[in-house]
């Protein structure tokens, strides 16, 4: 479905990604783990079209994504939930959600999408008229996830969805992500919660200094001594 081939991304002189290759198959949930500055967010931003690749190719269902603008990539069904939620704080929860359904094709179904999102997150329905900036961290993450779902994604990319959340809220978010994946949504999950992430994904990639250091079935990665030592503190 998504193929990243030999991708290199530079910020000025600095190479943030060096020859990264990875793929996500339909309906699959893929983990992307790695330390700070490993290039995880850069990879997501490049797939989203926010950062231009210096070399390599990105393809989506056989078609190249390289030269598309971010809004076109969203139209293709690839939607990112950015790190730190990044809601529109001065808008209400519902306005934020509606904003997610900006594209004409998904706009037609926005009432239905809205019902679905409120179904998944009843708490958002209670707070629909509240300003997004006034929500708790967990609720903001729900709203950010809900906003992305409003765009009817086929590949959802989540950047640190549990960052700064209470353990309880983090468990809830992971459970929701898992449920969405079970219903058929492909997911690319970036997280520092390595144990949890490898537990719910099928495949995983470990990024280190802009290079894919390891890859394989998540269950195997979890047992890998290197991963255990670097990321699990075992």
């Amino acid at each position: 479905m998504l193929h990243v081939d030999n991708l290199t991304v530079c910020y000025g002189q600095m190479q943030a990604l060096r020859g990264v290759s990875m793929e996500v198959s339909p309906g699959e949930m893929v983990a992307l783990i790695g330390g700070n500055g490993a290039g995880k967010t850069t990879l997501l931003n490049t797939i989203s079209g926010l950062v231009p690749p210096a070399a390599g190719t990105l393809s989506w269902e056989g078609r190249p994504l390289n030269s598309l603008s971010p809004d076109r990539i969203c139209r293709e069904g690839i939607v990112q939930v950015p790190e730190g939620r990044k809601l529109f704080p001065a808008m209400t929860v519902e306005e934020n959600l509606i904003m997610g359904a900006y594209l004409p094709t998904v706009r037609k179904q926005r009432q239905e999408s809205l019902r679905k999102v409120y179904d998944i997150f009843p708490r958002l329905a209670d707070r629909r008229r509240q300003l997004a900036g006034s929500l708790s961290g967990g609720e903001q993450q729900m709203a950010a996830l809900g906003r992305a779902l409003m765009a009817r994604p086929r590949l959802l990319m989540l950047d640190e969805p549990s960052l700064g959340l209470s353990p309880k809220a983090a468990v809830e978010i992971f459970a929701t992500i898992r449920r969405l994946n079970k219903e058929g949504l492909s997911v690319l999950l970036v997280s520092q919660e390595v144990l949890e992430t490898l537990a719910i994904t099928v495949h995983g990639y470990v990024l280190e200094n802009g290079v894919v250091a390891m890859k394989g079935p998540s269950a195997e990665l979890r047992e890998d001594p290197q991963v255990k030592m670097s990321y699990l503190g075992l």
Binding site: L50, F88, M91, I98
Partner: protein, 311 residues
């Protein structure tokens, strides 16, 4: 509530339209003419500056382009008064076309850099006009005024400017509720997130910029006819650009009512100050006022009172 508000607006507009029939002194007609004009300028600026957060400090350029295009057309083709007034519409379209051409590269630049580029753009347009002999060069363009009593001609231009204001505010009202307006607000909030939400940011910024140049262009044309003599120093004056920004921000950018309130208050204050104080002193007081507002009401008067009222 909505109904009452609509009725109140209609009554207010009817009163404004009826005002010239009360045979007021020409001074009051002129004063109201400039109030309407600044409401148009500030509200139009708000499309790009308020909603999208792209602070254009060169909006006088569009005003000036409209003024020069109308004046040149009127003097060259010896247009009748009615046609001169109508000529301001294609003049506004010319301003919008310039906005399209300039906006395409400029709107890729964000934040303060965009503002600096718009200032430069306004200077380039001004210098270009000044150096083109065809456009009157350093001398400016004279227009033949209507061959009717002054009060009647002033009344006519008053009504036309009022009409343009109503149209502009109608568009502003629509924009505030439209998908386009929502997209622009998202851009102001976080452009990268807006892009990844599928909002075609480049396209809608240009649309807003074009719209925000069109109405000032028409207003410039009417202003040229009103003055009967235009010069680049007058219509491209950077003070106009700054004043437009001040008015919109003072009232409250990104809202429908904000620029209206800001334009009305600041035009009244400006007029009062220049009547009772020297121009230099007026400018100092004006500047001080703006500093106070920026510090204590960063989101404009509207927001300040809304918060107070709302508790």
């Amino acid at each position: 509530m909505q109904k009452y508000r609509l009725a109140a607006t209609a009554i207010l507009l009817a009163m404004l339209a009826a005002f010239p029939f009360l045979e007021p002194e020409v001074y009051y007609l002129s004063f109201m003419f400039s109030v309407f004009m600044y409401v148009i300028l500030a509200s139009s600026w708000n499309f790009i500056g308020g909603y999208a957060g792209y602070l254009s400090f060169g909006h006088a350029a569009f005003f000036g382009i409209g003024a020069f295009a109308t004046a040149k057309a009127a003097s060259m083709l010896e247009l009748s008064p009615l046609l001169t007034i109508l000529a301001s519409i294609p003049a506004g379209a010319l301003a919008a076309l310039v906005a399209l051409i300039v906006g395409y590269p400029c709107l890729k630049i964000r934040g303060p850099y965009f503002s600096v580029v718009t200032i430069c753009f306004a200077f380039v347009v001004e210098l270009t006009v000044k150096n083109i002999e065809f456009l009157g060069g350093a001398e400016g363009i004279y227009l033949k005024f209507m061959d009717i009593p002054e009060k009647l001609s002033r009344s006519i231009l008053y009504e036309v400017m009022l009409l343009l204001m109503i149209v502009t505010l109608g568009v502003a009202w629509w924009l505030g509720r439209s998908r386009l307006g929502a997209g622009l607000k998202a851009i102001r909030s976080d452009e990268e997130v807006a892009e990844t939400m599928g909002i075609p940011t480049a396209k809608i910024k240009i649309q807003a910029f074009i719209l925000s140049a069109f109405f000032p262009g028409i207003a410039g044309g009417l202003f040229a006819y009103y003055l009967t003599y235009i010069h680049a120093d007058v219509v491209f004056n950077i003070n106009i650009s700054i004043l437009i920004v001040l008015m919109a921000m003072f009232g409250g950018g990104g809202t429908w009512l904000g620029p209206i309130i800001g334009a009305v208050i600041l035009t009244v204050v400006n007029e009062g100050l220049s009547t009772f104080a020297q121009a230099e002193i007026a400018r100092i007081i004006y500047g001080a006022l703006f500093i106070v507002v920026t510090i204590f009401m960063p989101n404009g008067i509207i927001d300040f009172f809304r918060k107070k009222g709302g508790g």
